[in-house]
Structure formats: C-alpha cells, structure tokens
Subunit: 189 residues, 2 copies
C-alpha cells in the first residue's frame, strides 16, 4: 500500500527548498531538479505539485512574502502614527534576520530578470507602501511630504539590509539600532 | 604572419566582458568560457592572460574598483569637511549610474560565497572608510561619534543603491537628491 503523503506538508517542503536555495545561491540556481534533490524527492514529485519552474517560484515567494506581511502586521498592531511607523521600520530591519535579508536581496536581484519575481515583489511593495502611508498619515503633525518620507524610510530599510552584507560579519542589533536612531529621530520617528 | 594583438587592449576586453556579465547576471555566471564568448575570443586566448577563474575575477574587479576610487577622489578634490563628505556620498549615489550600482550589488552578493570577491570588496571598503573618516574629521564641529556617522552614511548610500532596484524603473536623480537632503541635512551635511 503506498505511503500516504500529506499534500500540504509536501508542498511546504518544496517551498522551503526554493527559499533555501534562493537565499544561499540566488534565484538563478533554483531549478526543479535542484529543488527536488534538496527536498529529497524525485523531479516527478515536484512536477506533480507545480507545472513549471515559474509556478514553483511564484508559490514559494508568495508563501514567504505572506509570512513577512503577517509579521509586519503583528509588529504594528495596537500602534498608530509615529510609533507604528517606527515599529514597521524596526521590524523590517531587525525582524527577518540575516537569512531573511539574504532572501530579500536575492528577490530584488532576481526581479531584475525574472518577471514572476518582479510581479511578487511589486505586490509586496504596493502592500508595504499602503501600510506605511496609512501609519504615517496618522503622525502628529502629519508629514509635509508623505512620498518623500516613504522614500527616505525605504532607503533606511534597504540600506540596513545591504550594508549588513558589506562586511564579513553581520551587523549586531545594537549597531543597527544606532543607525536607526541617527536617521529616524530627525524625521520625527 | 600572425596578427599582432595589443596585450593591454586584449586584457581590457576580457575585463570588460567580466564586468558586463557580472552586472547583468551576477558573478556566478562568470566563467572563462562565457567571458571568451562575450569577448569574441577562444578560451585559450583568455587563459593565455589569466591562469584561473579566480585570477580573472580579481583582475576585473580590481580594475573596476580602481576606476571607482579615482572617480571618488576626483569628486572630493579641493573640498574638506562637510562639503567633502557630502560630495563623496553624492558621488556614490549619483556617479556610478544604474549599471554601476548593479555591478556593486553583484559584488556584495558574490562576496558572500566567493573569497576573491570578498577580498576585493574588503579592500575597497577599507579605502572608502579611511577617506570618509579623514573628511568627516575635518567637519566643524567634528562628529561626536565618527563610527556612528560612517555607519549612517554607508546605510544611506547602500539604501539608495538597493531601493533603486525595488521598482521597475530606476529612480531619477531628483528623487535620489530629495532622499539625500532628508537624511543628510540633519547630520550636518
């Protein structure tokens, strides 16, 4: 009698394999063959769940991005205005950890050449921009130029992601917090 | 009679090929075979000049990094203190252009797994840190915490590099300048 394999557990294993390979080596290294080997399955098992490499990437990235959204929403819960904006930025900088940031870097780099990654990245950024705009509109006083504030905050977040990889060792939390204070306090955060 | 090929012109073509492939597809895509094809030469021509892929990467990155250093030095020439620091940051953000930033992103990502890239990146960053420290020490008043200022500036530069790739279109200069003003003016720059 064939062993029953739980469909959702199997899919999760496949998704995890995509995320792990992309995080370590970039999305160009993600192939159905590599994912199957990483997940300890045959390629036909993988293609039983997804019809193409593109669908494989979409499912994996969408799952990862949904998890990030849930974390970000939890970080702002119960806060409004400046404390909500600050909590959101702190979550983006301190929450996902080194592997989370490495995955993000891989996603932004991959989106330059892979339309499916671009689409998922755009979707996340639209959601992020809307949440940030909603929280910053509640600031007292409200920002004079909300778009300029949003750009500055995105630069601070992306800067802490990329600068964290410039050196051999990742930046400790205290070092990241010092930069956040230096750049965010003058913005009223 | 064999055609005379100028050695330095040949080497430059090979170096350019490495930089172009790395910029477009990342350093993992740089192989002696790909570089030869890109440069319109045979692999034996490439291996006549470099003994290994590692040496190929080192020569190409070192040449590119030396060009950046010369541009940065030209940007600060004749300036001291805050105007020198601001000129340096503006050069890093506005000088290299999209392909320059794409190359930088590829270098930082590649340095996570390729020791030769890590070595060249470390060398550039030591030089950059020393130049920034020298200019910021001349600020009036001098920064209370020079290391904290250096971290904040590195985050601003890296943030503008990475954020520039989050959307489908690159950020125009005016948008980058607006972020620089919002984040640097409070730092006395």
């Amino acid at each position: 009698m064939p062993r029953q394999v739980d469909r959702s557990a199997r899919l999760e294993t496949v998704r995890d394999a995509v995320v792990e390979i992309a995080t370590q080596e970039g999305f160009a290294a993600v192939t159905i063959r590599r994912v199957a080997a990483h997940a300890g399955a045959s390629t036909s098992v993988v293609t039983h769940y997804v019809s193409s490499r593109e669908e494989l990437l979409r499912i994996a990235v969408r799952g990862e991005v949904a998890a990030r959204r849930a974390q970000a929403e939890a970080a702002v819960e119960g806060r409004t205005g400046a404390p909500a904006v600050r909590a959101l930025v702190e979550w983006a900088v301190l929450g996902p950890g080194d592997d989370g940031h490495r995955f993000w870097l891989a996603l932004v780099v991959g989106a330059q050449t892979e339309p499916v990654l671009r689409q998922e990245l755009d979707g996340f950024n639209r959601w992020w921009g809307a949440l940030l705009a909603r929280c910053s509109a509640q600031m007292a006083p409200p920002p004079a130029d909300p778009a300029a504030l949003a750009d500055a905050l995105d630069v601070v977040v992306d800067g802490l992601v990329l600068a964290g990889f410039e050196e051999r060792a990742a930046w400790p939390v205290s070092r990241r917090r010092r930069v956040l204070d230096a750049l965010l306090v003058p913005l009223g955060l």
